[in-house]
Structures are given as C-alpha cells and as structure tokens.
C-alpha cells in the first residue's frame, strides 16, 4: 500500500501546482535557513577533543583579589610565576603551559625575505596532552625543557614551505636570528575551537606553525604575541624582568587528570598553593582558584559567537512560521478532496487508511521541500562568509550528515505539520459527501 500511496502522493503534487509550489517553497526556505545556520552552529559548538574533554583542565588562580578581579572570577590565564611553579610541582598526570610567539623565520638563501610564523612556546607534555599527530619525528623530551635546549617542532605546512615536505628532522631553522634543531614535524592538526588558546582569542584562528621549549623562549627574550593582561592594578613595574615576574597574566596552563578523584586532589593542591601565597604575603585574600574542564572552559569563554546563536534562533522561528503556513495549505489541499475521501470511506476504507494515505502524501511534499532546501542550503553556504568572520565561515560545509539531516528534518517536520489536516480529512463523513454530490 505504501508504494501506491507514494505514487498517489507524487501524482497529487502535480494536481494543484500552485498550492504545491507554495508549500514546497515554504518548507524549502525554512529548512534551508535552519540548516545553514545550524551548520555554522554545530561547527563552532562542537567538542574539539572528544575522548579527553573531561580529563583536561585549565588552571586559574586569582592573583588580583576581590578589589580588582572580574566579579569574583580569577583572570583567564596565569602569571609566569604561578604557571612555572605549578608545572615544576608536577602534581598532575601531565601538565603543560604555553604562550603565543610570533618569531620571524628566515628561509635559507639570500633572496628570500623573512616571514612571521605563529607558534607556541611550551613544554614536552603539550604534544601528548592535546594529541598532536606527527608526520616525522616527535615532540621533544622533558630533559630538553630542563636543559633549555634549542629544539623545535614545526607544522606540516611550514615544513612544506621551508623544506618542500621532506623529512626535516635534524635540520635547522632560524627564528629571530637564533637557530633551532628540528626534532619533529607535526601532521596537519587544527582542533576547532582551539580550546586551549582562548585567552588570546584564537578559538578559530589559523593553525600554528611551530613549537619551541618554553624555558628557551623566555631565555632568548621572545615576547608574547598573545594577550598580556595586567588587570586594573597599574603597578606592574619597569622593564622586562619586572614584567616577567610581576602580576600580569599571559601564560595559559593545562593539566591532565584522569578521573574525578585526581581532579579533587588537584583542586586541593591548588587551594593549598594559593593559601601558601597568602601566608607568604603575596595574596591578601582567601584562596580563589578554578579548575575548568574543556567544555566548562568553552562555555565560560563564550566561544560560540552571538551571531551564530541569534541567527540560529531567527532561522528556527522562520521555520516554525513556514510550517504554520504549510499546515494551512495542507488543510486547503486535503479538504478540497473531501468528496474523494468520502468515496474511499464509503467503499470501506477505515480511518487509519486515510491517515496513511495523507501522511504519505505530506511526506512527498516534505521530500520535495527537502530537495529544494538542499539546493538552497548549498547556495547559502556561499553566503555564510557575509555574516561570519572568514575563519568561522569556512567551518560551515555541506557534508553527508548535513544532507541527510536536511531531508530528514524537511520530511519529519512536514509530516508533523500534516497531522491536523489529516485528522480533519479522516473525519470527513462519507454519507454527507456522497449525498451532496
């Protein structure tokens, strides 16, 4: 019966072309608007490191006190002093710290001009904690951190640019006029949003090109290319040393804690650390620390851009209106055929069969709307760049799951919208219809 009803449904699409066209367009526009905004929304609100997002925590300590902090919240990164002390303490399974660097890289050969490459000055644990994949070699070792070695890891892209993609492990790279030995080439790696680098606002930035040891970068006085937040407390001293050991925050720190018990233990350790600072006279307030896991952190930093939420909301509202419209039009379409329904009922069709027939027919309208919606969605993908920053817009793409979702949403929504008109159709009194004809 289903196949027959489907055939009837397809045929009836042609019977009242005006009404059908209106419905298909309403469903198509509605579903396309929702899908375009949804594709952006899912891209920006996804879990960047699914297996580990509950085990990675960023560490925050209030070094400003109730007078200067942000409504009770500690600043969004650590001072050099705290970050290096906590990493040295090594109380978590793994711990890393980093800051953004943008050294100039001088390619070999006299004619080439230097260029800027973005990177992180970090430690050996970084690569394992954030699952950085490697093409050649690997990360450096903890001993390189301790020995302040001049080593570097470069990205696949930088390796292409400098060495034509060859295995460059063991070769040298010149950054800010210092040379570093390459120990690893990372494969393409670009988690979105880049959850660990939110402090400097790089949630959707370009992937970084290089990594070098934190201690080494500090030694050669490589300045931070990321954010440096000294808060409202203007007393941050004079010169690099005062800044480095002062109360400006610029070093994000992350720890890996395998289970809740470890997290609890680490929180206690942090509180004790802050209490110690209080006893030493550095903090004049009770310990105020935070340990936020990846999703908590993404939430706290409001990574999902407001445009994305608002436009998704508007699109959904729009879709609802389109469906209300569809209900009205389906009602008109079905009730026009009251006589036909009367004949079927009089010939013995139970109400259930009428339901089947008209819901399948609504499904065909939904399918047609879905196909139109798919075309409009594909078209709309070009328009996304208009609304969002380019780095966010390029995250939106039409993949198989989006195609399936579009069709499914269109059909399900139309069938749901058809329930009321179908109910009305099924209540048609056979005798009445037969008599009046």
């Amino acid at each position: 019966m289903f196949a027959y009803y489907l055939q009837l449904g397809l045929r009836s699409l042609r019977r009242s072309p005006m009404l059908t066209a209106l419905m298909v367009m309403a469903v198509g526009f509605g579903v396309a608007a929702s899908m375009i905004t949804w594709s952006v929304f899912r891209a920006v609100s996804g879990d960047p490191i699914p297996g580990k997002s509950a085990q990675l925590y960023t560490v925050l300590i209030d070094n400003r006190g109730p007078q200067y902090n942000d409504n009770g919240e500690p600043p969004e990164a650590l001072t050099y002093t705290d970050a290096t002390a906590l990493v040295a303490a090594g109380k978590a399974a793994h711990q890393t710290l980093f800051y953004n660097v943008a050294p100039s890289v001088l390619p070999e050969g006299n004619q080439s001009l230097p260029f800027i490459a973005n990177g992180y000055a970090t430690n050996a644990d970084f690569f394992g904690m954030f699952d950085v994949p490697f093409e050649y070699g690997g990360g450096w070792h903890a001993s390189d951190d301790a020995g302040r070695a001049a080593v570097a890891v470069i990205s696949h892209e930088l390796n292409q640019q400098l060495f034509g993609g060859a295995d460059s492990v063991g070769r040298e790279i010149t950054m800010d006029r210092h040379t570093y030995r390459i120990v690893g080439v990372a494969a393409h790696w670009d988690p979105k949003p880049r959850f660990f680098d939110l402090f400097s606002g790089n949630a959707f930035g370009d992937p970084v090109q290089l990594y070098l040891p934190f201690a080494r970068a500090v030694d050669v006085q490589m300045d931070t290319a990321g954010r440096n937040n000294c808060g409202s407390n203007a007393d941050f001293g004079v010169g690099r040393d005062a800044w480095l050991h002062g109360e400006c925050v610029w070093v994000p720190m992350w720890v890996e804690l395998p289970d809740p018990a470890a997290a609890k233990g680490y929180r206690e350790f942090l509180t004790n650390y802050a209490a110690e600072q209080q006893r030493a006279g550095r903090f004049h307030w009770a310990p105020n620390v935070r340990l936020r896991d990846v999703n908590d952190w993404l939430d706290h930093m409001r990574v999902v851009p407001p445009e994305s939420r608002i436009s998704l909301m508007v699109a959904l509202g729009f879709f609802v209106i389109c469906l209300v419209n569809t209900i009205g039009l389906l009602l008109a379409k079905f009730m026009r055929r009251a006589a036909e329904i009367g004949v079927r009922r009089a010939l013995g069709a139970p109400r259930l069969e009428i339901y089947h027939q008209f819901l399948v027919e609504a499904g065909t309208v939904g399918l047609a709307g879905g196909v139109l919606g798919l075309l409009l969605t594909a078209l709309g993908m070009f328009g996304v760049g208009l609304l969002f920053e380019p780095e966010i817009a390029r995250l939106a793409h039409l993949d198989l799951s989006l195609v399936a979702t579009t069709l499914l949403v269109a059909i399900v929504a139309t069938v749901l919208a058809a329930f009321y008109p179908t109910w009305r159709a099924a209540r048609v009194q056979p005798a009445w219809q037969l008599k009046s004809n």
Binding site: M18, L19, L22, M25, A26, F29, G30, A33, Q67, Y68, A102, S104, L106, L113, P114, F115, I116, D176, R177, Q221, D223, S232, A234, V238, G239, R240, W243, P305, P306, E307, R309, I310, S311, V314, A315, G317, F318, V320, I321, C322, V324, N325, I327, G328, L329, L331, A332, M335, R336, L386, L387, F388, E389, Y420, R424, S436
Partner: protein, 418 residues
C-alpha cells in the same frame, strides 16, 4: 457592512482563521525585531570615525632580530629605525604626511586607560574616572588622520618624546576629543586644564581638543567609543605602525611603493599581505559582522513576508472555492461585486487585526527575551506600529487576488446544483 454574519461565518473555519492569525502574529513579531536589529546595525556601521578616511592607509610591520626595548640602548636604536622609516615614508612621491601611531579607530587593538581631574585616584573607580583609549603618536597626527582641531593647539615637535613600550612614563601634554573634554570639564573650558592619567599623581595638560575620533575598540568598547586621548610619544618596540595619508588620487600608487621603499632601508623586517592596508579595508573588517547580520535579517524578512502572503493567498483561495455557491446566492440576492470584494477584504482585515494584536505581544516578548540574553535595546513603539500597518497592508495585498476572483462569481451559480 455588518460584522456579525462575518464572524459567524469565520467560526465555521476556526482552523484556517487561527492559522492565518498565528502566521501574521509570528511574522509581525519576527519582522519587527529583525527590522529593529537592522536599523541598529546600520546606524552603528554609519557612524563616522572622525578621521578623513579616504586616502588613508596603515603600515604595520615587525623587525627581525630587533634590539631589546627594555634597555636605553635598545630603545635608542629602535627609535632611530622608526624615524628612518618615517622619513622614508614621508619622502615617497605619493605621500602627503605620515605619523607613527600604536593603533587606529576600528582596528580593535586598544590601549585603554582612565583619566581623572584629581591626582592619585583609584582608577577602577568609575565615579572619578573617565575611560579612554590612548593613541601614542607625534605632531603630524592631525593632518595625517584629518582630525579637526576645535580648541587649543596641535602638538609641536618639542612636545614629542620617545619611550620603550614597556617603560612607565608621564604624559606632560595631551590632546583629547570633544566628547572626552566635555565629560572631564563640562563647562567647555578644557584647554589648559590639568588631568591625571591612570590614577597617577603626575599632571598632564590638555593642550588641544579635536572634534571627534573613535577608539579602536569595536563592540566591547562601545561605551567609550568617542573618548580618545592623543599622546605625543613615539612608542619603540619590535613592532611599528604608521598611519599614512596619500596625496589625493594617489592611494594605490603610494601603497604599492611602500614595501619596496621600506625594504630598501632595512631588509630585516616582516611586511606581509596584511601589513599595508587602506583604511576602507579596516572599516569593512570591523563592521563585517554587523553588515552581515543586517543582510541576513533583511533576507529573512523578505522571504518571511513572501511566505506569509503566499499562505494567505492559498487559504483564501480555498475558502473562495468552498463558498462558490454561497457567493452565487448572495449575488443572486442583489449583492454587488464590490460587496463580495469588500466582504473578503474585511474578513482578512479582521483576521489580520487579531493576528497583529497577538503579534505585538509576541514582538515585545521576543524583544524582552533578546534584551535579557543579548545586548539589545528596547523596541521603540514606533517600530511596532509600523509593523502593524505593514502586516495589515500585506494581508490586504495578498487577499486581493482571491477576493477579486470571488467577486467574479456570476449569480447564475446559485441556480446550479452544487
């Protein structure tokens, strides 16, 4: 025309009536708020920065292996390099003037602080302090940016100092914007008066007031968007930024000549694609989200109105078909065509009116919800009224075609069997 029979007839079509009214209500709610958002964004995007934006471009670059900005020796070297660059840029044939500057309106890189008329205040205290954004620059800034001096004097070469960017230094003289001057000295006599920056106790003198200049912060800095302070200090760092005014009509040529000329002075620097940017580019980037949002809302509104109109046409046509015979009877009993036309128009007005009333409530509700979740202002009554008139007009336009078809039903239909 009596409303009573019309309402009685509508009660036979409860579902259709509710659907049309609901659709009109939702359309009104969304379109009102969307147009309000569009209006706000357009207003934001249209704000003048106070700069003479045509022929202005910005050169941002970074030194390779620069001396440290934390030693007096390094600062002196960096300053010499910056001055050399400035001289080079100023001597380019297409360039009218150039000034070093740490940031620029709409550039979203802000050196924020606070000014007070009293020394040594706690500068997080909003009561005695006014938030501002600093521009560190030199005496050529006014002609280069095209700022209009309304009181006092411009900086002169003797005012200009240089400092490493991490040094702590005093600001003996400053120029402020009119908005900031009015905030500090509401009587309008700011020139020659003393202010204190960032809670310090060393005085700064306001030597001039410019009409208008926007701060670099777009978005988070909107509450102090016009509170700019110009400080005659060349900041020395491994990164430099210079604002350049090209001679009229020579913007392209001057921009093209910039990189080669600078490389000739010193090759150990990084100038990439983004280093030399016209100001129009900066403006477009700063407001792209606003423009995009306005376009999106506009498109959604248009489609929405189309869909609603289509829905009304569809349902009314259905009703006309259903009442074919009744219309015939009315005509046979003496109703004129215009009566039938008016009947359907009136009916639509009634439904649309009911929808509009619900729609206003929903529009206000949606606006309140947006205000609580996002930074939105209250929807002015004006917008809601415009919206009501618009949906009523939309209903009338949409109903016209089916209503005219109804009025063309001949009286003879009454005599035929249904």
């Amino acid at each position: 025309m009596k409303l009573h029979p019309m309402i009685a007839a509508l009660r036979k079509h409860k579902a259709g009536v509710v659907l049309i009214a609901l659709q009109i209500a939702l359309t009104l709610a969304i379109v009102c708020n969307a147009i309000f958002i569009i209006g706000q964004r357009v207003e934001r995007v249209g704000r003048p920065t106070g700069l003479d934006e045509g022929n202005l471009f910005v050169v941002s670059q970074q030194w390779v292996g620069a001396p440290s900005a934390d030693t007096p020796d390094g600062v002196a070297k960096l300053d010499a390099m910056l001055k050399e660059d400035l001289a080079t840029l100023r001597s380019l044939p297409g360039v009218a003037s150039a000034a070093p500057i740490n940031s620029l309106s709409l550039l979203n890189s802000t050196w924020a602080g606070a000014l007070s008329t009293k020394p040594g205040t706690n500068f997080t205290d909003r009561g005695s302090n006014v938030r501002t954004a600093y521009y560190f620059t030199d005496e050529q800034v006014l002609p280069t940016l095209g700022l209009r001096l309304v009181a006092g004097r411009n900086f002169n070469a003797a005012d200009v100092q240089n400092h490493g960017f991490r040094e702590q230094f005093t600001y003996p003289v400053v120029i402020v914007t009119q908005a900031l001057a009015d905030k500090l000295y509401p009587k309008g006599d700011a020139v020659g008066k003393t202010i204190y920056v960032d809670g310090s106790s060393s005085p700064s003198t306001i030597v001039g007031v410019v009409a208008r200049m926007q701060t670099p912060a777009v978005g988070w800095g909107d509450n102090f968007a016009w509170h700019a302070t110009l400080v005659p200090v060349r900041l020395d760092a491994n990164f430099t930024r210079v604002a350049v005014r090209a001679k009229p009509g020579q913007l392209e040529a001057a921009m093209k000549a910039t990189a080669p000329a600078l490389y000739q002075v010193n090759r150990l620097r990084v100038l990439d694609d983004d280093s030399v940017r016209p100001f129009t580019d900066i403006r477009a980037k700063a407001y792209r989200a606003d423009v995009g949002m306005a376009v999106l809302m506009g498109v959604i509104c248009l489609i929405l109105i189309g869909v609603t109109a289509a829905g009304i046409v569809g349902l009314t046509s259905f009703w006309v078909g259903q009442r074919h015979r009744q219309i015939g009877v009315r005509r046979a009993l003496g109703a004129r065509r215009i009566d039938i036309l008016h009947y359907f128009q009136m009916e639509n007005l009634l439904i649309a009116g009911a929808g509009a009333v619900i729609g206003i409530v929903m529009a206000v509700g949606l606006n309140m919800w947006l205000m609580s979740r996002y930074e939105m202002d209250r929807l002015p009554v004006f917008y809601a009224l415009i919206g009501v008139v618009a949906v009523l007009a939309l209903g009338q336009c949409a109903v016209f075609v089916p209503a005219r078809r109804a009025s063309n039903v001949p009286p003879v239909v009454a005599t035929r069997a249904a």
